[in-house]
Symmetry: C2
Subunit: 406 residues, 2 copies
């Protein structure tokens, strides 16, 4: 019999009715003859409530104790889900991280799964019992509870699917799949039947919020077929698969955008070897992530302009660091702009098709949209533009790449 | 260095401020040079919230899953308390039931502690770290979470104190000790400095709500000195000690009352061998606890009256059972009265002093209070009277036995 993993996120188990609804989705799979492991998140709001308490009781708290407190959220859902399943005659039992065990390293609050012991749980699943596993948590060294950090429950589900040799891992969520772009902005956005892991990875890291990059990476590494599917509507979702499994490849599969960007320009900085290191070293030390970077020499060849982007929330700290290093950096002017958006076109088809970037630049130029920074990788082209053009840019590109629904 | 256990109940850790307050009480002990293990309950309201969810999701739920859900309450307090201690520079770590482990049997929802492994936790306490232990929970067979049922956190604290060889177990609560009687009714009630375990056991089972009988039994069996003490005022509480340790014994130490009583009378029931068994057998089968019992023969010697008391909430079921067995029991009349109260005088001094019961009957008779049923044990006398006389009876008896505060 085929094993599958079904993962329900916070909104999908947000109250008792939703837990019951999720239990019915599990029962459908059981009735189809599948062996099911269910991974659950905390009921929506619970993690924030518990997290808030930890901050309030002690701003600089022990992350080991943080994990004890917040992991209680998934524990509660886990027990309730097992009860809901039993209530509709589906044999089930709950498994907390330490009971499986899901073994992690000791990076409390952002632990990584090292191994999952499937001997016990696999035996119970083979015996026809649904295993309800608490997501987001594991067992670290010295018998202590760990949590996996943001998006951890998705990672739990994928890792469990890999360990159990599951045929598929369904991520139940409040959207019904992965779209060519944000349907709230582009009415003609289409749901994708299939998307390559790498495309999804780019989409996630470029602003699409359906899945965390970490879970996608895990799925890609272990070749776990993921499906993003609605908890509330019984319609097929989007499958994440290996590139080779996509027969009809689009050149561009999706268009992502991120408003969480700010642009910094250091004008007329001394153009000498090591200048980039002297700018970005102190930022790295301050834990600030730099994304796009452009360096251009001025005409006299003795000074340069360096432009780069960072997360909006890091803007003030970035300016402080750069101003604090003004003496060493010898720049003439420091400019910043938080009214920018990064728009990216993504598609594995770019590997074999030329002209994708060119088409993007043309399309934006035709609409009078100025490109401030460009960065490219093998399967995506990103541009930074003024934030006010977000919607126009997305719609124009969506049409230009032939993605519009009919 | 002396080891002590401090237990904080739900109201004592009811919000973050109260957890901080409790942490300061722990710090006082640490500053006095004591090695401390802290046992915490769930924040007040949490257990009810979680318990309510389990009932709502499935009325007839698996008690193993119930334990998974409700034990999350103590887990949260446990982590928060460790954080609050660390925040005031007291080294601390949390210990969940399965981490200690506190080993129990597999009676989920009402498990009994079988053993506590103190090797790890004792070592950490010796090293100067406060152990914050989740009350109410343990580790049952097959690696599953168990909970101890009502009053379980007190039992956890006493069992831990016994296992650690602690000098004392302080039960922090919202009252400042054990009183001679309910101070809300008798203004002259006095706080007792010391009370014998057995007296406290009688008080608890006769209606006083300070401590659960189970924790007192455990303390008595393991000779753990218990102190009932206020979380909110820094004043000495009441010590529960062995009878021999009380030098100046009162003949009567306290007066308890319970309004949760109902009286049943079966009039003119056939007076033959086995009649009591035929009355009480079906009640026992229905899980109904019978307390006081009086049987009196009628003058003709062929029929008897049987009067007994039960918990108020069992009244309707009791009447149903008795009516259902009317044919077999052959009683002429079935009467019931829920407007009754059981008043008890308690004191180990009764063992060596005669006339305690006599004084009780006189005192009540002087006030015109009719005694409906009497039951006695070695260290208590209980009477059932009409509920409307509760306050009058308590005040009169409190004076008569010389318990009034000056």
């Amino acid at each position: 019999m085929a094993r599958i993993v079904q993962k329900f996120g916070g909104t999908s188990v947000g109250d008792l009715d939703r837990i019951r609804n999720a239990a019915r989705r599990v029962k459908q799979a059981v009735d189809r003859g599948e062996q099911v492991a269910v991974v659950v998140s905390a009921m929506s709001g619970e993690t924030n409530r518990l997290d808030g308490w930890t901050r309030e009781i002690s701003p600089l708290h022990d992350t080991r104790e943080y994990d004890v407190v917040v992991s209680a959220g998934e524990q509660v859902t886990c027990g309730l889900m097992a009860m809901a399943l039993q209530d509709i005659q589906v044999p089930a039992r709950s498994w907390l991280g330490w009971q499986v065990p899901i073994v992690t390293d000791d990076l409390h609050g952002r632990a990584r799964i090292e191994s999952i012991d499937t001997e016990m749980i696999g035996g119970r699943i083979d015996g026809g019992e649904v295993a309800v596993v608490a997501g987001f948590q594991g067992l670290g060294p010295r018998n202590r509870i760990t949590t996996l950090g943001r998006g951890g429950s998705d990672a739990s589900a994928v890792a469990l699917a890999a360990a159990l040799g599951a045929e598929r891992c369904d991520i139940f969520t409040d959207v019904d799949g992965v779209y060519t772009t944000d349907p709230r902005i582009v009415a003609k956005a289409r749901k994708l039947d299939r998307i390559a892991y790498e495309e999804m990875l780019e989409m996630a890291s470029l602003g699409a919020k359906v899945l965390q990059t970490r879970a996608v990476e895990l799925a890609m590494r272990h070749r776990v077929t993921l499906q993003v599917v609605s908890s509330f509507e019984d319609v097929p979702g989007t499958f994440l698969v290996d590139e080779d499994e996509i027969v009809e490849k689009n050149i561009v599969s999706g268009i992502a955008y991120s408003r969480d960007e700010a642009k910094i320009t250091l004008a007329h900085i001394a153009d000498r070897p090591g200048v980039a290191a002297s700018v970005f070293g102190p930022l790295a030390d301050a834990g600030i992530n730099v994304d796009m970077i452009v360096q251009s020499s001025s005409q006299d060849g003795r000074s340069a302009d360096i432009t780069f982007t960072i997360g909006k929330s890091d803007l003030n700290r970035t300016l402080e660091v750069l101003e604090g290093n003004r003496g060493a950096l010898e720049y003439r002017e420091l400019m910043s702009d938080a009214d920018v958006v990064k728009v990216s076109v993504i598609g594995v088809g770019m590997r074999t098709h030329a002209g994708v970037a060119q088409q993007m630049f043309h399309t934006l130029s035709d609409k009078g949209i100025n490109i401030q920074v460009i960065s490219t990788s093998e399967i995506k082209v990103s541009v930074l533009i003024a934030e006010e053009y977000t919607e126009l840019a997305l719609r124009s590109l969506h049409s230009a790449y032939g993605l519009d629904a009919e």
